[in-house]
Amino acid sequence: MNVIEHPPIFRLPGIPDHVTYTWAVMAILALAAFIASRHVALVPRGMQNFFEVVLEQFQQLIDDVIGLEGRRFLPLIATLGLFILVANLLGLVPGMYGPTTNLNTTAACALVVFFSYHYIGVRKQGTLTYLKHFMGPVPWWLKPMMFVIELISHLARPLSLTLRLFGNMVGGHILLAIIFFLMGLDGLIGWALSGSPLGVVVGGVGGLVMIVFTVGFLYPLKILVSFLQAFIFVMLTMLYISGAIEEAEHHGGEHHPAHH
């Protein structure tokens, strides 16, 4: 890993990189929120308009997945979504370190989701009812096994959230690092500069192909994956919350999500 890693351009002494750049993401989001809320008007303009559109999209997602009573969770969902999005995109800027390429940041987000949806379920229905719904609609002699299966699947959720976000981000970064390594003075460009005719032909053409491939295909793919993984994280959070809430409507109520 040492040969393909490169340090970010700004480091605080004694503080790990992912913490420093988490603070950078927080600073970016706080600055954007400050600009958006400076002159709050009934008819929104500029940054306030942009953020109203973004939050309205989040609210529509929540209405579709959780229903109208999910609107109180908009701060949690939107903060998670915006933080993960900006953290992913920060990793794409050359010279910066993306906090989500570190297991600690993604595990922190996943643990927040895990404790949140259990707290929301317990607060909505009471501890005993919530735990009873772990056992599912099976006959009484299967209930203990069902409880164990549900427990394991619930424990797998933060693990899968962590690894999904981490793996997607780090996979792209390792691919990019390997291409830079192949292209550098030890690789294609060095071969092209070495002066031998075979080197110029293969190294030059190969280098050009790599540059076009990276800038034209890999970077847009990484940007797409950043947006997609933030969306998936938020979507799964909403599904877990709706799963924790909806158990109360088992017995006769129907679920009417709002449609626009």
């Binding site: 988490t22 603070w23 899968s160 690894l163 979507m235």
Partner: protein, 109 residues
């Protein structure tokens, strides 16, 4: 309101410094586990990518069929398809994480 904001900010800044990542251990020279680990990592990733592609192909095929049947529901079907694709892909990502552990962390010497 402002004091609680300042306190909350200080509390948030104070906590993450504790979460330090550990540096990976270096491999001793001459052990035969290293080459096998590299081989296994390569094969595992290849198998995972192939099977993930099969699963995602089926998912996209059904989604496109459904969208052709009912163009009005295309937006909702597309959302469900994107979620399904990301969940299938995450299984291949787990294999990638295991491959990276085998290659870079090298737990068995």
């Amino acid at each position: 309101m402002r004091r609680s904001l300042i306190l909350a900010g200080l509390a948030v800044l104070a906590v993450p410094g504790v979460a330090l990542a550990q540096a990976p251990a270096a491999a001793p020279a001459g052990s035969w586990v290293g080459p096998f680990a590299v081989l296994v990592a390569g094969f595992a990733m290849a198998i995972a990518a192939g099977l993930c592609a099969l699963g995602q192909g089926k998912a996209v095929a059904s989604a496109v069929d459904a969208m052709a049947r009912q163009p009005g529901a295309a937006a909702r079907i597309q959302t469900a398809m994107i979620i399904g694709l990301a969940l299938i892909e995450s299984l291949a990502i787990y294999v990638l994480v295991v491959a990276m552990i085998l290659l870079f962390v090298q737990p068995i010497q």
